[in-house]
Point group: C2
């Protein structure tokens, strides 16, 4: 018998909540028999919405939470004061081991703060990073950190690299993922103060296969498997990926409508073009897990669709099946990082 995964799902978070969240949950239940969902949010509303779907009632329960944390609320204060919010209630389920994972499309700040305050960090991990898969011409790469730690220190970047390497290895089945640090040139003396200080730490770390610096130009070409940077740069990379892709596609479509000849051609290339665009869309690859906590917390973006919510739930299954959490624990049990203690 397959082991069952229980996910606490924030039914109230995100621009499309609760409809897209609920729809994504139902899709995940249909795809996998070993997922159980605790739908956290306003019970009356959710009961009503659930009535619109047919699903295995044994595998989806509603857990009531009367409050919602908005995106414009100060995260620390919101987590402290809204004890009955969907985010706090769901995180408490993970802390109490009533759920294996938490998935939310709600306030990033509240999820990040709440995850660390309620679920807590693994012993030895100072700054859990967000890791997200981005498409490349060769497959996918893991970008870590993509926004959790905007003023990271060199030893944090080392932790991002180690956690990211374990995650990539297991999620992608690559035994020695190539780890690179985002830099403005390839030579070892290049970079800002942070990168220059982090470079030797990465180079000397025996747990990872460090290949040196990567220039942003090479990221979309699959220049490395695990792309390490602090959260500010990571967030810029993730959002620019989306921005340049979207802008270019819209320009190409506009260009194709410029003459009768190209309009005709556009009709013929449309299916192929659609397929390519889909492959290069970062949202196809699930959400961003916060790596290095005492439990799994996955953040997906505010405008997440049902499909993305479903992908996040399936992603949690990979974490459980591949025992990724246990490997994170092992990483810090075998070797307490003294450099990260400050």
């Amino acid at each position: 018998m397959q082991e069952m995964l229980t996910v606490a799902l924030d039914a109230m978070g995100g621009d499309n909540a609760p409809d897209a969240i609920l729809k994504g949950a139902v899709q995940a239940l249909e795809k996998k028999p070993n997922i159980k969902i605790l739908l956290v949010g306003n019970e009356t509303l959710l009961r009503e919405k659930c009535a619109e779907y047919t699903y295995d009632k044994e595998r989806m329960e509603i857990v009531h939470a009367s409050e919602v944390i908005d995106c414009d609320e100060a995260p620390v204060s919101a987590i402290r004061h809204k004890k009955d919010s969907s985010i706090v209630v769901a995180l408490q389920l993970v802390k109490d081991k009533k759920a294996d994972a938490f998935v939310s499309a709600g306030s990033t700040g509240a999820v990040l703060v709440g995850a660390q305050m309620i679920v807590g960090r693994l012993r030895g991990v100072r700054r859990p990073p967000l890791g997200v898969f981005i498409p490349t011409t060769k497959g996918v790469s893991l970008l870590v950190d993509n926004g959790a730690n905007v003023d990271a220190r060199p030893e944090h970047l080392l932790q991002f690299a180690r956690l990211g390497s374990v995650y990539y290895k297991n999620a992608m089945g690559v035994s020695r993922p190539r780890v690179a640090i985002v830099n403005i040139g390839l030579e070892e003396e290049k970079g800002n103060a942070l990168v220059k200080a982090a470079y030797p730490l990465l180079k000397e770390c025996p747990d990872i296969c460090f290949t040196g610096s990567i220039e942003a130009r090479e990221i979309p070409h699959g220049g490395a498997d695990v792309i390490v940077c602090e959260g500010f740069t990571g967030n810029v990379i993730l959002k620019l990926y989306e921005g340049v892709g979207g802008a270019l596609i819209s320009e190409i479509k506009k260009g194709m409508m410029s003459s009768l000849r190209s309009k005709l051609g556009a009709l013929l290339v449309k299916p192929a073009l659609k397929e390519t665009v889909k492959r290069f869309d970062a949202s196809e690859y699930g959400g961003a897990p916060l790596l290095g906590l005492n439990g799994l917390v996955v953040k997906t973006h505010g405008s997440a669709t049902a499909k993305e919510v479903c992908n996040c739930l399936l992603q949690c299954l990979t974490f459980k099946e591949q025992r990724i959490h246990e490997q994170f624990e092992g990483l810090y049990r075998q070797k307490e990082e003294t450099s990260g203690e400050a």
Copy 2:
């Protein structure tokens, strides 16, 4: 009579030197009657190469320089020791007012260091930034700094914004360019320590039209005219622009070759697609001037083609015709930035 512009051109810098450099110079002479070029480099070699072209001999002279600074040389030491390198000789021509501008596709480090050591900074300017035009769906935006100052301070970002605003205004003919700071969210409390500290300085500056933060996603859609960030982030943005664009185009081409139907369509859309790709290619928009020096220094990338070299030379003409340098001087004459004195 039109005023003549004299440019010292580094004939030895870049992967395609001296051929692409020379070809670009000849193109610029053909396009504009008021450009004069001082071709700086090995005289014997250049004399031989020049013999292959027909051009107005009155407007292109060779200035001998026996040495070349390689890209892997330490910039400060190279500038100090290679006194007869093309970069040092050309910069000296600008310092001595024998040339109005210097254009190079050579070592970025050496050009940046040499420009500040030899040509010098305008009084009041602490850290001259590199400004580069990037294509957007609405036209072009100026990205400043794109790599000169990787560990900038808040007051430096204010200078980037002021210099960039004057440059954009004159080069693009926009009276009040919208200035935004690269950030990971739109709210004022978002950002890393640098951005949080720079934000109020930009907000309070009366010389610029500051519109707040810009997320990287909005940059390709023309969300602001002048995009301000420190050089590390700017360099990542510039290179990722190129990388995502290139990767997506190559995937689209591959996708179009996947079936007979799409192959046929590809033939029809090819001209329109080519036009779009060209419009979205950052190299179409000249090089990156170092803003805030006692003279004009324009850096173009190492793999610059003849066309890009030509564009850089024409760009120098805009600087002269629009009296951009005089306006930079005015900016710092009218108001010495005490915040930039540290």
